[in-house]
């Protein structure tokens, strides 16, 4: 029977990470906090909010001092109504997992409750709000974690956020001959037949009034 990481271990590890980050970065304006998931086992994770200029410093610290070894996800979002300082946002999800570089013909079986200190897995969520405008850009972390490479390509391809310093940026999901500056997940692009969804919002028409006569919705 495998032993899972307990809630106490997880809470203690998350707190230690937040202390580490706060002592290093809090006067630069980087916010690090422990948040709990709101369902299931309700484990804690670390949420960091920083600005694009601080991102590379924070990222290198996470990799070298905190031991984050897995960059899972890079998500870009477009907020046309977000205001002047949150027109776009990039969310990174990363993990610190205990991993061992294993010799031939051996294996390492890690047990959840025997992990201590830096080995306890922690989940990270990093938000980087970007100012509104037409050219959102974030420094690339392609050289820090290799897992960020294709994630950043996809985020640029679909959302249009530039990653400064990213080597060999190209379209990965959209066709190569898509129009330049066509990034479908931006909010001004609507899906085909987007009026249909408004139509189906109230299919039996219970909310319709005589004044709605002749309207699609």
């Amino acid at each position: 029977m495998v032993t899972a990481v307990t809630k106490e271990q997880n809470a203690e590890a998350a707190k230690a990470v937040v202390e580490n980050l706060s002592s290093r970065f809090s006067d630069a304006g980087v916010v690090a906090e422990v948040i709990a998931h709101t369902s299931g086992k309700a484990y804690d994770f670390v949420r960091i909010t920083c600005s694009p200029d601080q991102w590379r410093g924070v990222a290198k610290h996470l990799k070298n001092e905190v031991g984050v070894n897995y960059c899972a996800m890079v998500t870009g979002t477009h907020f046309p109504e977000g205001g002047a300082d949150r027109g776009w946002e990039v969310a990174y999800h990363m993990y610190r997992w205990p991993i061992a570089n294993v010799a031939a013909h051996t294996m390492t079986v890690l047990e959840g409750d025997k992990l201590k200190g830096d080995e306890i897995p922690v989940e990270f969520e990093i938000f980087i709000p970007l100012p509104a405008g037409d050219t959102p850009s974030v420094p690339s972390i392609q050289d820090i974690w290799e897992g960020a490479d294709w994630n950043e390509k996809e985020t640029w391809d679909l959302v249009g956020i530039d990653f400064e310093g990213h080597v060999n940026m190209h379209r990965v999901l959209n066709p190569h001959d898509s129009p330049v500056a066509f990034h479908p997940l931006q909010r001004q692009h609507k899906i085909r037949y987007h009026d249909f969804n408004e139509m189906y919002d109230d299919p039996q028409g219970f909310g319709r009034k005589p004044v709605d006569e002749g309207r699609v919705k």
Binding site: N69, T77, V102, W150, H194
Partner: protein
């Protein structure tokens, strides 16, 4: 010697989906590769911004179609995190059993596609025949052989039918003998061993840095598995071990190790299923009506702006994440942004790099051993 680029795909006899692999060959040796994806990019993330939360579950089934139940479960976990819904314990057990049956079916589909890549066509018929046993079980739950739309936000759609538990036990016990049959066919076959051993080395640390997870890492000698590092559902209450395999060399795990780790994972899934069906609260032979509070709690349908939900899930091919931002459509009925992290999207470029230095004939072996599924790659 003149080098040339050869395009393999998008239509190719390798059975793993629609993508192009361009290889630069010097004679028979591969010197460079380039993977091209996006042939079935459907824009699911954009479409889901115009769907209710319950309407998104069928889309998640169709992401990785070989392993639909696990992807729907992963999405539903993220939606529950967003909408702050609780799940009753019986529903968690049912979800665990459905996910593990799906894991068995998915690994059988993998083996049934991997065998023909190496040249062993017998495996396709045997594995797909055995996979039908498990698809029948999932059909009783979800109504269809693939794309079940079974997990609901707050529980499951309907309870396990009466007798499902007995059928599950009988099939799992039969299948454990069948795994022995497969190993008897393959582990003593010289061709199988020669084609798989010594090919496609990858170490665990390298893979994790590149973002590769799942059985591929466990083949390299360490039992990193989300089911115990970031526990969810009732995996900490059933009897199982992550399947780990000792890598053959300091250079890492080869294709043979990745094949062996999946066989071991199938055994562990069988073990989990036999344990879970005995431990399920309420018993395996009671049937609750759909919507009963033992299997489903009513979940809110709207998420306020600023709420986020995130799930970490061990899918059959790696770790899958869903990141949902609430507050779409001004009223919170739709997600503002749904982002999907597919393990194979990162693995395929990594594998393309692993192939450099081997022969053309090793390409299906290496690619097949990492178990690609293009549906989840090109969302």
């Amino acid at each position: 010697m003149a080098e040339m680029w050869i395009t393999m795909g998008p239509q190719h006899p390798m059975t793993h989906g629609l993508w192009t692999l361009r290889v630069k060959v010097d004679g028979e040796t591969v010197t460079d590769t380039e993977a091209e994806l996006g042939y079935i990019h459907r824009g699911v993330e954009k479409i889901c911004e115009a769907r209710d939360f319950t309407q998104i579950t069928p889309y998640c089934d169709r992401l990785c179609y070989v392993s639909a139940m696990t992807w729907a479960h992963s999405y539903v976990m993220a939606a529950e995190d967003l909408l702050e819904a609780e799940v009753p314990e019986r529903a968690e057990y049912i979800r665990l059993m459905a996910a593990e049956v799906q894991r068995l079916a998915s690994h059988l589909m993998w083996l049934g596609a991997f065998g023909p890549d190496i040249g062993n066509l017998t495996l396709m018929t045997w594995c797909l025949r055995d996979r039908e046993m498990f698809l029948d079980l999932l059909q009783e739950l979800g109504g269809s052989r693939m794309h079940y739309n079974y997990p609901r936000i707050g529980g499951v759609k309907r309870d396990i039918p009466i007798g499902w538990g007995n059928r599950l036990k009988a099939k799992v016990k039969l299948f454990e003998h069948r795994i022995n049959e497969y190993e008897m066919l393959l582990d003593e076959s010289t061709i199988w061993l020669v084609r798989l051993q010594g090919v496609g080395y990858a170490t665990a640390e390298d893979q994790l840095n590149a973002g590769v997870t799942g059985p591929n890492i466990r083949a390299a000698g360490v039992n990193t598995d989300t089911r115990w590092t970031n526990p969810y559902s009732v995996y900490d209450q059933v009897d199982w071990e992550p399947a780990v395999e000792k890598p053959t060399s300091v250079k890492g795990a080869d294709c043979y190790d990745r094949y062996r780790v999946r066989m071991e994972e199938m055994r562990q899934s069988c073990r989990m299923l036999l344990d879970a069906i005995d431990k399920i609260p309420g018993g395996a032979n009671t049937h609750y009506q759909p919507g009963d509070e033992m299997i489903l709690t009513k979940a809110p349908t709207r998420a306020p702006e600023g709420a986020t939900g995130f799930s970490t899930y061990e899918c059959t091919r790696g770790v899958s994440n869903f990141y949902i931002q609430g507050g779409g459509d001004g009223r919170g009925k739709n997600p503002y942004r749904l982002s999907i992290r597919s393990p194979m999207f990162i693995t395929i470029p990594y594998v393309a790099k692993t192939m450099i230095g081997y022969k053309i004939a090793d390409i299906p072996a290496i690619m097949g051993s990492f178990d690609p599924c293009i549906g989840e790659t090109d969302r």
